[in-house]
Symmetry: C2
Subunit: 240 residues, 2 copies
């Protein structure tokens, strides 16, 4: 009876328990993964010699495993096999919220924080597969129609992977939330939506004659939110 | 002769030197600050017991000083006077770039990483001033028309500040950049713009009669990019 089963969830420990506004916290896979899959970019935090670094990068998810581009962190990871602690965070700003007092000014947002140990993908076949998905997760089946990667290109790219050991999602979606007595004040308040929107595709001016936009990009239509396009592409790429 | 002066810049050390694609790196105040001021949200990284945390939060800048909301980090900072190392990062995704091979798939983006030591704002007058700017930086002069903050509200809010000791900006804005020989291949390539756009304001349904949207929100018009509105509001709030 799968419909009565407890949905899969990340374990909750002091590391990932949402402390401030814990009513906004979620730990189930479905909520955390939906926030991750709605974004192309994340921020990854590492520690090098006690100094935290917060690096924005493209990323994607497979089950409870995350992948991202190497960037400067690959230097740190190069000789490690068991991984370094890392935190990968995705956030979406959904609105600015103007209230009747400063304290209740806020924002609607969806954020996911994932904790684990980051390691370099060193196995060549696994790395090749990851590099295909680095493209195809966003643009399903695109790699099959591309000029294939050279050994030099594969070598020049670092792929990092991290199993999600702990995760939390934090969501605010309530718009204006003033103190009850403040609603009687003659002060303007609003929720101002913000969306990440896809613009008009700019085809490369050097396309060969007769080459046109393919099915791999069909989710990315102008005017659509990036969230929605990314989730649709994800579902197609991973058959979900 | 100010027009021949060297523009102010952040010092470059191994901590903030852009290593991968260093041609995309910038260290001058103008470039770094423009990226910061175009965003309402940042990601802040801290280390607690060797574990990095990457927390999204609202923030703002005054000169070379950053401010943000406390969140769970305030627990760590409560008893420290000299501060903990932190990294505050802002990133804007400007496009997805589909190339003719996997290796040249990319994104146009603007990102700024700022390094320093984070401390809690404990002086009451400084904290009050910061809480005004936490609203007025985004909505110029808004606080003057709000229900004033109570002592309890001020106490319940943590404000963290960090002088920018090191910073770097990294910008990619070139769209499709394929290997010269690949342009002859019959493969579709494009730059797909992405923008963070302001939607229709949703006025609080419980407004008192006759209350309308004021000048403090005039930068935030539907259809505008959030970047542009935030920069305009910033210039008005700080007279710059």
């Amino acid at each position: 009876m799968p419909d009565t089963a407890i949905p899969p969830s990340y374990p909750v420990t002091p590391m990932n328990r949402v402390k401030r506004r814990h009513d906004r916290g979620h730990y189930d896979h479905e909520t955390v993964h939906a926030i991750l899959d709605s974004s192309a970019m994340c921020n990854v935090s590492y520690v090098i010699d006690g100094q935290p670094y917060c690096t924005p990068t493209l990323f994607w998810r497979e089950g409870t495993t995350l992948y991202w581009h190497g960037s400067s962190a690959s230097r740190m990871l190069r000789n490690l096999s068991k991984g370094e602690p890392a935190c990968l965070t995705v956030s979406h700003l959904d609105s600015l919220v103007m209230a009747r007092c400063g304290f209740n000014h806020s924002a609607d947002y969806r954020a996911a924080m994932c904790f684990g140990h980051a390691t370099l993908v060193t196995d060549l076949e696994e790395k090749k597969r990851a590099l295909v998905m680095m493209v195809d997760r966003f643009f399903p089946n695109r790699t099959a129609g591309l000029r294939q990667s050279t050994a030099k290109e594969i070598k020049a790219t670092s792929v990092i992977t991290m199993e999600i050991e702990r995760a939390s999602a934090k969501i605010r979606a309530k718009g204006v939330g003033d103190d009850e007595e403040d609603y009687a004040l003659p002060i303007y308040a609003e929720r101002l939506p913000v969306r990440s929107v896809i613009g008009e595709p700019e085809a490369c001016p050097r396309l060969m004659p007769g080459v046109s936009r393919g099915e791999d990009l069909k989710a990315y239509q102008p005017g659509r939110t990036l969230d929605e396009a990314l989730r649709e592409a994800y579902a197609e790429a991973y058959g979900g």
